[in-house]
């Protein structure tokens, strides 16, 4: 045992800063969650503020709109979650088949560029190109399709949200899959080829199984964000015409809580979202282990 410590202490020392940072910035602040159960007033402090139990949670769920915003959040978030998993994988697989390295690089760079544009900027651009006189509708007009009010019509608004989010992020999400793809042992492909497997069969039986662990990890982690439907995107794009289909928990909390300095309410909603997220992550972790025998972490 003594020997073990002498041998390994430098590694522990290397780990120490990360552990400390995590403790200070992730664990200690959790104590602040108690304000979710108080009517927190800054000058009274946590010690002096009045305890109100579950009042903020009750407010969230008894609000006339809460069903609507929770349903909206789930619909939008789940659609994004699925597409945000499928599209990058398909894209990565397609890109992986490209043999010209230069072309591959160029495409990869181009598709992940939108990731770096903020939604504030993109919001303004989308309003223009999706407008009834915008470029998209003019294109549709060529096929005789009536102009569609993408941002002002509830169902189209959801489609627009999901599509634009996928467009913005799929290139960036694909990076991790591309990395996984490049780690596959080429000998596997050679063996498959000798056995007479076609490109398609190679993909099904070599490529996909090899990156499946990564897919599961990414999928599981994104489940933790099931109640995040994309706050900054929606805040910049939504409008009264689509409240009924586009208002989500975060935009609701923003209007009620943050602009008015209601710390406790904001904290309560955050706690609620994290709890649901944690529950789903643990659940999917267990399921992956039981059913597919994967150790994710």
């Amino acid at each position: 045992m003594r020997n073990y410590w002498i041998r390994t202490w430098p590694y522990h020392a290397l780990l120490l800063p990360a552990v400390l940072l995590c403790l200070v910035f992730s664990y200690v602040p959790m104590a602040g969650l108690v304000i979710a159960f108080q009517r927190y007033e800054p000058w009274m402090g946590i010690g002096g503020s009045e305890w109100v139990g579950l009042e903020h949670f009750r407010y969230l769920f008894s609000y006339p709109d809460s069903r609507q915003v929770i349903v909206n959040t789930l619909v939008i978030a789940v659609s994004k979650l699925i597409l945000q998993l499928v599209v990058p994988i398909v894209f990565a697989l397609m890109l992986n088949e490209l043999r010209k390295m230069a072309l591959k690089r160029v495409i990869q760079t181009l598709v992940y560029l939108p990731h770096f544009i903020s939604w504030v900027v993109l919001g303004g651009i989308l309003i223009d190109i999706l407008g009834t006189g915008g470029i998209v509708n003019r294109f549709l007009g060529l096929w005789g399709i009536e102009p569609i009010f993408f941002l002002g019509h509830g169902d189209w608004f959801r489609v627009t949200l999901v599509a634009s989010d996928v467009w913005k992020e799929f290139g960036f999400s694909a990076i991790i899959f591309l990395a996984a793809l490049s780690n596959i042992n080429p000998a596997l492909y050679e063996a498959a080829e000798i056995d007479g497997a076609t490109k398609w069969k190679q993909m099904l039986y070599v490529t996909l199984p090899s990156i499946l662990p990564i897919i599961v990890v990414v999928g599981t982690l994104s489940l933790g964000r099931i109640l995040d439907a994309g706050f900054d995107q929606i805040l910049n794009l939504y409008n009264p015409l689509v409240y009924s289909k586009g208002d989500i928990i975060d935009t609701f909390v923003y209007r009620v809580g943050l602009t008015k300095g209601e710390f406790s309410f904001g904290t309560a909603v955050g706690l609620f979202k994290s709890t649901v997220g944690l529950f789903l992550i643990v659940l999917s972790y267990r399921l992956a282990y039981r059913i597919a025998n994967y150790r994710i972490f």
């Binding site: 800054p42 000058w43 006189g133 009264p240 409240y243 008015k260």
Partner: protein, 599 residues
């Protein structure tokens, strides 16, 4: 809500006029990043009485005072975006004005904090509250922060100080516009000096004059005539590109009928005295026939407004995408030559509408008086004449020094006849900073055009210095203004655009472009049509609890009706919903407040 309130800062910003505009376009010439000097507790407490201005000797004029030894006042500023604030080498903490103040007035300004955003300032104050930390001697507060400060009992009551030291004009304004005060009043004591705006942002009707002439139309004076103009604009191709791409009215409806630009209060005002806003539960509360307050957006008169807007939307006279656009976005339609009418404040003649000339060199926007309704009614909303308050820490010992300095700055706006007017500021604050002298003439901007040699320019690129940062840190980086104080100046320069400007207010009015000045003149002449919001109390408990839902409900219902997705008759359902979901509670609270505070 905070965001929007802060737009009330705009009038003063715009009135710093050419300053700000050149600042925006030229960009360069910024000062050094100053070391935030946070380590300055007020060192000279306690020895105040002997050195107050009043004790300076009876024979001295009111403007003449000096503290010896010098005193220190601490403050805090939001250093949001300030191109052209300082000469190279000068900083917020050390510049010619700060040195001048120390030498001549014996007042040293220290900064407890300098932050980049309004939100950060709020955080700093909340932090000081939660740790019971030190507050600056004077700083700016409003809304929830002000409410918190009052609850925590950390502010200095000002009744005596106002009585003893305040400029008579300020006292007069506080009395005359006493409805601004409840937010900063607790138990009968006043805790804040309102940062008045000039209330000059009332709506005017902007129309493309060149389009009117091209289609041989008369300027509309009624809603019916306006409708004809809108029809002609949207159908007769006024921009002459052979495409049916124009609409009549550019209007943002993302926040409902009322916002800071492009608002439709004048259309509502043509049909009823009931002004309406759906996006803020504190606006607009109007008196009904029985003298009770009623929320304008649920008053039956609102139907007339909705009927008009719905028919304009259906006929294509209005931007089809109004519902997803905020004011800046809506103005792009007008600027790009696709819309010929837009409502809004007088300053739109420069930004945004002035930019139309880039698309169409013949474009000419002109402000017209508001259109009258079928019964001859005209009306518009009174823009709030105050936003935030200057407040003072309970530990501040030199309140009279703050007032003495405030009075001096206010007097500079009022002109040389004022007893507090400091003759050292007659030409401006400091030569080579806010003005230069060329051939015996005072030049306050556009130095290159005025032929000032390059080495005399205040800033190397020829821009004007934005004096708010040097001169006004103690008054919240804003020139102390009083409501409507520029009305006379607007009249003067409308009569004679080349008249001599004798005060900063007159200079800023003179700095307006021709379209803005004409619009300001229209706005001033229609000031009598302005209808104030009758509820000026604090956010009630009911508002805090239900306000957000009602705001969403109202805005959503209005837009669904205007877009024809729901019939006009659904208005009654909306009203029932409104009262059922907390509107009744709020109405009751508001009326109780009104009975108690009505004069």
């Amino acid at each position: 809500m905070m965001r929007r309130r802060r737009w009330t800062i705009l009038p003063s910003a715009v009135l710093t006029g050419s300053l700000l505009l050149t600042a925006c376009t030229n960009g360069g010439g910024d000062g050094d990043p100053e070391g935030a000097d946070a380590s300055a507790p007020a060192a000279t407490n306690g020895e105040t009485a002997s050195q107050s201005p009043a004790a300076n000797g009876e024979g001295k004029p009111k403007w003449d005072f000096k503290y010896d030894p010098p005193i220190t006042i601490t403050t805090a500023v939001v250093d949001e975006n300030r191109p052209n604030a300082f000469k190279p080498g000068e900083t917020l903490t050390n510049n010619s004005h700060s040195r001048w103040m120390e030498e001549n007035l014996g007042i040293i300004t220290k900064f407890d904090w300098i932050v980049g955003k309004f939100e950060d300032a709020d955080t700093k104050i909340r932090l000081a509250l939660s740790t019971n930390g030190k507050l600056p001697d004077t700083f700016t507060a409003q809304g929830d922060i002000l409410k918190d400060l009052l609850k925590a009992d950390r502010l200095l009551p000002l009744n005596d100080a106002i009585e003893k030291y305040a400029h008579p004009k300020l006292k007069e304004a506080i009395e005359k516009y006493s409805y601004t005060m409840p937010e900063a009043t607790k138990d009968g004591k006043i805790y804040g000096i309102p940062r008045f705006g000039m209330g000059d942002e009332g709506t005017v009707m902007w129309i493309r004059k060149d389009w009117l002439e091209k289609l041989s139309l008369q300027p509309p004076t009624t809603i019916a005539e306006l409708e004809n103009v809108l029809k002609a604009f949207s159908e007769r191709d006024p921009n002459g590109n052979d495409k049916d791409d124009e609409v009549g009215l550019a209007v943002p409806l993302k926040e409902g009928p009322w916002t800071w630009m492009g608002q439709t209060d004048a259309i509502a005002g043509a049909f009823s005295k009931q002004l309406l806003n759906t996006y803020d539960i504190k606006l607009f509360w109007n008196e009904d026939e029985n003298g009770n307050l009623v929320y304008g957006a649920v008053h039956p008169d609102a139907k007339k407004y909705l009927e008009t807007m719905t028919s304009w939307m259906a006929k294509g006279y209005m931007d089809k995408e109004a519902g997803i656009k905020d004011p800046s976005k809506a103005s792009e339609l007008a600027v790009s030559g696709m819309a010929g009418v837009m409502f809004g404040p007088y300053w739109m003649g420069s930004w945004p509408l002035g930019d139309t000339a880039k698309v169409d060199p013949n474009a000419q926007w002109q402000a017209y008086p508001l259109p009258a309704g079928p019964d001859g009614l005209k009306g518009k909303a009174q823009k709030p004449i105050y936003g935030s308050f200057s407040v003072f820490s309970k530990d501040f010992k030199n309140i009279e020094a703050w007032f003495a300095y405030y009075n001096k700055l206010l007097a500079k706006n009022l002109g040389p006849e004022d007893p507090y007017f400091d003759p050292r500021f007659e030409k401006g604050f400091h030569e080579g900073y806010d003005y230069v002298i060329k051939d015996g003439k005072v030049i306050t901007g556009n130095y290159e055009a005025a032929g000032v040699p390059k080495e005399q320019w205040p800033l190397p690129d020829g821009a004007s210095i934005d004096m708010r940062w040097m001169v006004y840190p103690l008054t919240g980086t804003g020139n102390p203004l009083l409501p409507y104080m520029n009305a006379e100046a607007i009249k003067k320069f409308t009569a004679d655009p080349n008249a001599e400007a004798t005060s900063p207010i007159e200079q800023s009015v003179k700095g307006l472009n021709a379209a803005q000045l004409a619009a300001a003149s229209v706005a001033v002449s229609e000031q009598g049509l302005e209808i104030p919001n009758r509820y000026t109390g604090p956010l009630t408990d009911g508002m805090a609890k239900h306000g957000e839902f009602l705001q969403k409900l109202a805005t959503e219902s209005y837009l669904h009706i205007i877009y024809g997705e729901k019939p006009l008759s659904s208005f009654d359902e909306f009203v029932a919903q409104f009262y059922k979901n907390g509107g009744d509670v709020i109405t009751k609270e508001v009326n109780e407040w009104y009975k108690a505070n009505k004069k």
